[in-house]
């Protein structure tokens, strides 16, 4: 079966490609690309005026299955991913039960094969039950298909534990992902510690609750030679620490969310829990620093931390409501804003959404080179639309971007040569 993406702007930073042409897909692989190589006909998608990019890969998604199917499932989560242009997602292990063993990893992969609209890469827990006490079966989970390890949602507070995990995972060349948060510094907080928290009377989560853990983890990665990946980096100090560690040659990578690139604590609408996430929206200087860090490559990837929650869970007192917002369907237009504002080149944007995630987690994809899997995202950078969570393909609606006027939208998402999403025109 052939699929031809005709006359698009073929855009692939992994091979410095930016030219108008056709992309030919045969079965599940990219076969060829070049100017005007395919005739119009059946199996042809006219991509005139559209950008044809390697499929986006989200390193940080909560699919909630098993255990929290009322929030999201593998089916609904990957459907939302495809709608956002993501051809692959890394699924965090904080399900119930926690993905801390090979059986759970294999189960998730089986569900994804059966129901998935995008590829699913399991992230296994670092410790049993993510309780931080005993190392989980990293080797067995890797055998079953885990691509990284994390106790996401919780930091690994025990420095010896994270040190051993870095050493052990380095045997498989897999990253340890840290949700960097010193729980003593953040205890009881529900938004960033700053003037807005004081004004709203909400307990603050200090920026250094993150940076202190980032510093610790970078030192341990340097000592062990292991690969530390910092999840959802959010503060200026964290960016500075990662930049300095990378310059020293530490095996460190990092991701940032679209919401930390877009909003800061001053934007937190009064007690609107759709502005409550962890790490919280930080100060304006932090936001500027993560944008700069993404632009200069200190921060490798954009990852959504898509964290669906049911309406009744979010419609609570601010300090009682769970942390997290959805992100898969709003990521592209939010990051495109940085491109149109001149903060980011289009090449860095596509790299951060696709090539870099593949590179740092050693995943297939992230490229349009012939012979690679046909995971492709076709988007219109100029399409104007209004985001309405009621139309979301996710099971949950918890987004602070309700009714935002966006520019840029995914029109087609192709996974393994199969069109898994077509935008309603």
């Amino acid at each position: 079966m052939n699929l031809i993406l005709k006359n698009g702007r073929l855009f692939d930073p992994s091979q410095n490609l930016d030219r108008i042409g056709d992309l030919v897909i045969q079965d599940d692989r990219i076969r060829d690309l070049g100017p005007d190589i395919a005739a119009p006909g059946p199996g042809v998608i006219d991509c005139t005026g559209l950008i044809v990019a390697p499929g986006f890969i989200d390193l940080h998604v909560h699919l909630r299955e098993p255990g929290f199917e009322y929030k999201e499932t593998v089916e609904s989560g990957t459907r939302a991913a495809a709608a956002g242009g993501f051809t692959a997602v890394c699924a965090m292990p904080n399900t119930n039960p926690v993905n801390d063993n090979a059986g759970a990893t294999a189960y998730l992969l089986a569900r994804a094969r059966e129901l998935g609209h995008a590829r699913v890469y399991p992230v296994g827990a670092i410790t049993e039950g993510s309780r931080g006490e005993r190392m989980a079966a990293l080797g067995a989970m890797r055998q079953a298909g885990a691509v990284a390890f994390s106790d996401d949602g919780k930091p690994v507070m025990n420095a010896q534990m994270i040190r051993r995990a870095l050493e052990y995972a380095s045997m498989f060349n897999l990253p340890i992902i840290e949700h960097a948060e010193d729980l003593h510094l953040s205890a009881g907080g529900s938004m960033h510690a700053g003037p807005r928290a004081i004004q709203l009377g909400l307990r603050g989560i200090s920026g250094n609750s993150e940076a202190a853990m980032v510093a610790r983890d970078l030192l341990l990665a340097e000592e062990t030679g292991g690969h530390i990946h910092i999840a959802h980096l959010s503060t200026a100090a964290s960016v500075r620490l990662v930049r300095e560690a990378k310059a020293r040659g530490v095996r460190a990578t990092a991701e940032v969310t679209p919401h930390h690139l877009t909003l800061c604590d001053d934007d937190v609408a009064a007690y609107d829990t759709n502005f409550k996430m962890n790490p919280p929206l930080r100060g304006a200087q932090d936001r500027a620093a993560v944008i700069a860090g993404l632009a200069d490559g200190t921060i490798d990837a954009v990852a959504t931390d898509h964290a669906p929650h049911a309406a009744h869970e979010k419609q609570q007192e601010f300090d009682r409501a769970p942390f997290g917002i959805t992100g898969l369907e709003t990521a592209l237009p939010l990051v495109l804003r940085l491109v149109s504002d001149g903060h980011l080149t289009l090449a860095r944007m596509v790299d951060a959404l696709s090539c870099a995630p593949a590179r740092i987690f050693h995943l297939e994809g992230g490229s349009l080179k012939p012979g690679t899997p046909a995971d492709v995202t076709v988007f219109d950078p100029d399409c104007n639309w209004i985001y309405d969570p009621a139309e979301s393909l996710s099971k949950s609606r918890n987004s602070p971007f309700t009714q935002w006027q966006f520019r840029g939208r995914t029109l087609y998402t192709i996974v393994g040569g199969r069109v898994v999403f077509t935008a309603r025109q």
Binding site: P195, A197, I198, Q199, L200, G201, A270, Q315, F318, D319
Partner: protein, 303 residues
């Protein structure tokens, strides 16, 4: 949600509305009120223990002829883990005309106001605001001073966790006072300076009291000691207790206020609490007048 139909905080409360409420309270002080809220039913939803505020609202409502229904923490549905909104929907269905909310979570009255069609009054939410307390404090000051403009008000104690401090600094600075906040560094974050140009911070009690027209003393919860905000009660008393000796730094006619509950010998000495300068008991009396004004405005004038 339209904030004009509620009283959620001093922030966002228009100055003409503040003046109107103070004027209403003044009228109620002079003339016994008519039963202008006869037939109205007020729900007092108290998720946090409170004697003085709940009683004050109850007395205020009844003096205006309204009926009150009290639901307090420990009541069954709250204990059973029902969500705040479900509790509110249920009670709203019992034909109440207004809801007074006290809650340990900042923003809880705001959440309620977003989901009901009757006026909501914030009777203290977490570390956020306690607007009727600030209004009664302003009213109390105005019974002794012609204007708040130009006064220096020292607020002393656990500023960080105090909704009384937040509401008062917002209200009094808006009305033209200079507000000095004072407490240990751990309980007085520098971010408080961002509230207003008329707010200043000091960790030194003597500096806070120097030349002050009004001294507002806040309770210090011993729970803060366990959280290591300060080392011991003795050290707090040594540094921050308002005693008659220290009070000499303030103006000789300075008013001494305390929102209660007051622990004599800790944040305030007994002789200061009972001194002729103290208007602490008068605050309680004025609380009823202010709450009558608030209920009258929200339930009586907009109906």
């Amino acid at each position: 949600m339209d904030t004009a139909h509620h009283l959620l905080g001093i922030e966002g409360l228009a100055t003409p509305r503040i003046e109107h409420l103070l004027e209403l309270a003044r009228q109620f002080q002079i003339a016994p009120p008519p039963r202008s809220l006869a037939g109205k039913r007020l729900l007092l939803l108290f998720y946090e223990a409170s004697t003085r505020t709940r009683t004050s609202f109850e007395v205020a409502a009844r003096r205006l002829g309204a009926e009150t229904v009290s639901v307090t923490a420990g009541a069954s549905s709250i204990e059973k883990g029902e969500s705040l909104l479900d509790t509110v929907y249920t009670l709203r269905a019992m034909a109440v005309d207004g809801i007074v909310v006290r809650h340990s979570s900042s923003g809880a009255p705001h959440l309620v106001a977003c989901h009901v069609d009757v006026p909501v009054v914030n009777a203290g939410d977490g570390m956020h605001e306690h607007p009727t307390q600030a209004l009664l404090d302003a009213f109390t000051i105005l019974r002794h001073r012609p204007s708040i403009e130009g006064l220096t008000v020292a607020i002393i104690g656990d500023i960080l966790h105090s909704r009384v401090a937040r509401s008062n600094l917002l209200l009094l600075s808006r009305l033209g006072a200079h507000v000095r906040l004072c407490g240990p560094r751990t309980l007085l974050p520098p971010e408080f300076a961002a509230f207003s140009d008329r707010v200043s911070l000091t960790y030194d009690l003597e500096e806070a009291l120097a030349g002050a027209d009004v001294v507002m003393v806040l309770r210090i919860q011993m729970e803060r000691m366990r959280e290591s905000f300060f080392p011991s009660e003795a050290e707090y008393v040594a540094r921050y207790s308002v005693t008659s000796e220290r009070l000499r730094a303030a103006r000789p006619d300075a008013l001494v206020m305390h929102p209660g509950p007051m622990i004599r010998g800790v944040e305030i000495s007994a002789d200061v609490a009972d001194s002729p300068q103290s208007v602490i008991r008068e605050q309680v009396e004025n609380g009823v007048l202010i709450r009558m004004a608030v209920l009258r405005e929200l339930l009586g004038e907009t109906a």
